[in-house]
Symmetry: C2
Subunit: 248 residues, 2 copies
Amino acid sequence: MISVSIIGYGNVGQQLAHSFHSSENANLVQVYNRSQILPSSLPSELFINDLGQLKPADIYIISVSDRSVVEIASKLPFTDRLVVHTAGSLVFDALPDTNRRGVFYPLQTFSRSKSVDFSGLPVFVEAENEADIALLESAAKALKARVFEIDTNQRKALHVSAVFACNFSNHMYKIADDICKANNIPFDALHPLILETAQKIMSLSPSEAQTGPAIRRDEPTISAHLDFINDASKKELYELLTRSIQNG
Amino acid sequence: MISVSIIGYGNVGQQLAHSFHSSENANLVQVYNRSQILPSSLPSELFINDLGQLKPADIYIISVSDRSVVEIASKLPFTDRLVVHTAGSLVFDALPDTNRRGVFYPLQTFSRSKSVDFSGLPVFVEAENEADIALLESAAKALKARVFEIDTNQRKALHVSAVFACNFSNHMYKIADDICKANNIPFDALHPLILETAQKIMSLSPSEAQTGPAIRRDEPTISAHLDFINDASKKELYELLTRSIQNG
């Protein structure tokens, strides 16, 4: 039984808190939230808004915005305990060395309004010694997650990859939505296409799955599309992405 | 019972042929394939490789590459029958007016190696009169698809949207895969993130679903990512997409 406290109750912190609370193999000790307690299905006695009230736990997971991690970590009222953050792009030794340091990075996109199932989800861990790695692995396994041990450089690569695979592909949906709206087409007609595009990747590599006018070098269609797009920045993106697909 | 013949046995033609063949409300009359008959679970007597052998059918669906549609259509050995194509970006009056003309455009990404379920899939139809629209609707309904009647301009908009939502988001996966490979990270660790990003769109608009350093204007992370990316064209894409997200 691993004991965990969550510091920060944003998108990631909420999902972690709920998942650890409902795990049979973890004990959620406390949740720190700076602002007023939010409506939650968690028992209210778990919540604190003063770091001075933090009780002993095996792991303290800081899940606040990247830019606040270091400040929060420097205010912790104890030393020599395992403190980790959940940020994709922050080096773990950004944390002060008054405590044992590490990273617990679940690779998923978190939204307040949609709950995340950690089972099968990859969690990337880093720490300064084997004992701390083992603690982080126990925490990940309590969530039924898949654990990967990586170094800081790999985590940075992973974060950049995730920006492309998630943030930028969502922006592609956004542009599609803009074009549908401007032409009175219901965007949900694109839902099956969007799901299938993602599901294909579960069995084909992205190179194998690539379809469309760019990869088949269908210049008449590409020109017709560029003529159709009025917006200068969408046109620039269409051209650059087409060239990028063609250059492999 | 609607009778349909498929002309062209590529990615789209194969899926249409199999789906019409297994539909209770459609009769697949013939499949024309220029080259040698491919291994198929369809009865071999359905296949012809000479357009002169085409028998009567309610609808002839031409599903060859966009650039070959007009040529194939001009070789059809009959007049005044309903001939449609499946191309997103080809005007339907590109077809010769010796036959009745239309479009039967299923919005999905088709790969030879992955079979497509048409049930619930949007199919966009165009024709020159109500009777022909009704025939195309019957064909779409025989596949349990959702039918939308649109005009040529909307279909062009739809095709451009689909390029962003499907082809370009797949290219985002490809870039993520490249970065993973270069850093010894198994790409399948990104599978849950990719699926969740697509599934989110079933319940949130793309604007609501947007996360990541660009939308939260996290400049230190954006700079760190740009420093990390060596490849000039990936760097240019990262910058342009970040700016595009920020400009809404």
